[in-house]
């Protein structure tokens, strides 16, 4: 069965992919700001030391560089929203584009607030979580304008891939929220050893930081389980459209666990810590895309049976 073809400007799709890559780079640069302790190297906002372009020295290089990268992503998103409004027939996609623009504006405001209020953890955590949410919105925009979305046929989800993909996306997102809380409450080294915790499997939770840190480690195991389940379902379905992204997700999870261990064992060295943030975003993007693909290309068996029955009875629906 094939779906109604949707006409989409391929250049808009390419623009959304460019925005996606720029957003991933922005998340890495944002991670660098926190990892290098440069979050308050520029004390004012929206200008930087009263200037549009301060000297790019020391921590200013990271903080103002982040602002410049964020302005670029904001610009790309604005263009995408206007472009989508101009030539997109699907109301939902137009809404998605404007939601992305709203998210990037809100993200900028949260970034400003976190500077002006000296990095309050709540605002910093919201800033980190909204970054990941925005990234997912751009993934959705990019996929909804892809050739696959426009032309691919729908098959029956015989093995529960939709559920597995959705579960993986939700678990990864929750794990990223936990990671943001850990990072912005200074709990990154609350447990200083790895793989054990204070030499034990189960540490004493005498400080909130230990609980947050340990929950993040347990979350990593849940992510590993969810992504492995997704890969298993993909293999069962023998569908390379799901095997490939699920396989990539598993590679990213293993890399991410390695980076998490390196972050702890290196005492939060800049590179592994920042890479941990960026790979986390890449993982979320991968499982979100897999979930979107599953919901676009697969029908639940019951629904598929109803469609087949209707067709057999001569109902075109």
């Amino acid at each position: 069965m094939s779906m109604q073809p949707v006409a989409v400007n391929p250049w808009r799709h390419r623009w959304s992919l460019l925005t996606l890559c720029a957003t991933l780079a922005l998340i890495f640069i944002g991670g660098l700001v926190t990892s290098t302790g440069s979050g308050l190297a520029v004390p004012d906002w929206p200008l930087s030391y009263g200037m549009l372009m301060p000297p790019m020295v020391g921590g200013v290089f990271y903080e103002h560089g982040h602002r410049m990268a964020a302005a670029t992503v904001g610009l790309l998103t604005l263009v995408l929203a206007i472009w989508t409004t101009a030539d997109e027939r699907r109301k939902g996609v137009r809404g998605l584009a404007w939601a992305a623009l709203g998210a990037v504006v809100a993200q900028g405001l949260l970034g400003g607030l976190t500077v002006l209020y000296l990095l309050p953890p709540v605002v910093s955590v919201l800033h980190a979580c909204l970054a990941q949410t925005f990234f997912c919105l751009i993934v959705a925009l990019a996929y909804s304008t892809s050739r696959e979305w426009r032309t691919a046929g729908v098959t029956t989800d015989e093995v529960g891939l939709r559920g597995a993909a959705l579960l993986a996306a939700v678990v990864v997102y929750l794990q990223l929220i936990l990671g943001a809380v850990l990072r912005h409450t200074g709990a990154g080294l609350a447990i200083p050893d790895f793989p054990l915790a204070f030499g034990r499997l189960w540490p004493a939770f005498d400080r909130p930081g230990v609980a947050v840190h340990f929950a993040h480690r347990l979350g990593a195991l849940m992510v590993l389980g969810a992504v492995s389940w997704l890969l298993g379902r993909s293999w069962r379905a023998a569908d390379p459209r799901f095997q490939r992204p699920a396989g990539l997700a598993l590679v990213l999870v293993i890399t991410q666990i390695g980076l998490g261990a390196s972050t702890v064992l290196s005492g939060k060295a800049v590179l592994p810590t920042t890479a941990h943030v960026a790979v986390g975003a890449a993982l979320l993007g991968t499982v979100s895309f897999t979930a979107l693909r599953a919901f676009r290309l697969l029908q639940p068996p019951r629904e598929a049976r109803a469609v087949r029955l209707a067709a057999a009875l001569g109902d075109p629906a």
Binding site: R12, G50, P54, V57, G58, G59, A86, L118
Partner: protein, 261 residues
């Protein structure tokens, strides 16, 4: 499609024009000549809290190994690097002739009443991409003048536990900002997030009986009323030491601390 592509280009153009507008800010300077105080100024106009004619002096001695002086490379800012071609000296302990410098010595308890704040400003200077002095001591309410003597930008970011935290920028040479801190608090770390090697400490007292040891570890506190006191010596890298002191009017007592590494 041509129309939508044109709209996209128009949006880029408009945003580009918006980004290109704007400008910088001229340097500000508040004329003043504050001193880098290392000891409390004893006021004779105490309200409730009394002053006197007793004093105590002594030395903070140090026995043990002294970590070698490190030289921090300042490559993050070419202007800082140019001022310290061999790197900036950083020490954990400064010991000379057995005396330990940079120790905060103050009357911890035994005083009664309140003391009026000094109006003399205390200077924290950013010079050579470093703070001068590294140990700032002042009374509550006493103005703290922060100056940027460098031809590069700095932000000043104290992280107190009791007083309000602030973060201000000084992008131009010669800029000065004035701040006060209204609650007693010792060893408030001050840092520059642009240049992470910069580190100083501010201590704020509700009385004038405090000082920081000199290079040879010596110190002196004057104007104390007769009485029994607890005096503390505090070094950021070592444990604190508290000693009892009893002084009479006009007496110049001796008080020596000894730290072991």
């Amino acid at each position: 499609m041509i129309r939508s592509n044109f709209l996209a280009l128009l949006a880029i153009g408009l945003l580009g024009a918006g980004v290109a507008c704007g400008g910088g800010e001229a340097p500000k300077s508040e004329a003043s000549a504050p001193a880098a105080a290392t000891t409390g100024a004893v006021s004779t106009a105490a309200s409730g809290g009394s002053t006197g004619t007793a004093s105590f002096s002594g030395k903070v001695a140090y026995e043990g190994s002294v970590p070698p002086v490190e030289r921090v490379k300042l490559n993050a800012d070419p202007k800082c690097a140019a001022m310290h071609k061999e790197g900036l000296e950083r020490w954990q302990l400064r010991v000379k002739d057995g005396g330990l410098a940079d120790v905060l010595v103050y009357v911890k308890s035994g005083l009664h009443g309140t003391y009026p704040s000094s109006t003399d400003p205390v200077l924290l200077d950013q010079k050579g991409c470093d703070y001068w002095p590294h140990m700032v001591v002042k009374m509550v309410g006493q103005p703290l003048v922060i100056r940027n003597s460098d031809d590069t930008l700095h932000n000043i970011h104290p992280r107190p536990q009791v007083n309000p935290e602030f973060n201000i920028g000084q992008p131009h040479q010669g800029m000065e900002s004035k701040k006060t801190m209204d609650k007693p608090e010792i060893m408030i770390p001050v840092g520059c997030d642009v240049h992470p090697w910069m580190r100083a400490f501010i201590s704020v007292f509700d009385h004038p009986f405090f000082t920081v040891t000199k290079e040879d570890g010596s110190f002196e506190i004057k104007g104390l009323p007769a009485g029994e006191y607890e005096v503390e010596a505090y070094h950021g890298k070592l444990k604190t030491q508290d000693l009892k002191l009893t002084v009479k009017d006009g007496e110049a007592a001796k008080l020596n601390f000894s730290f072991k590494g």
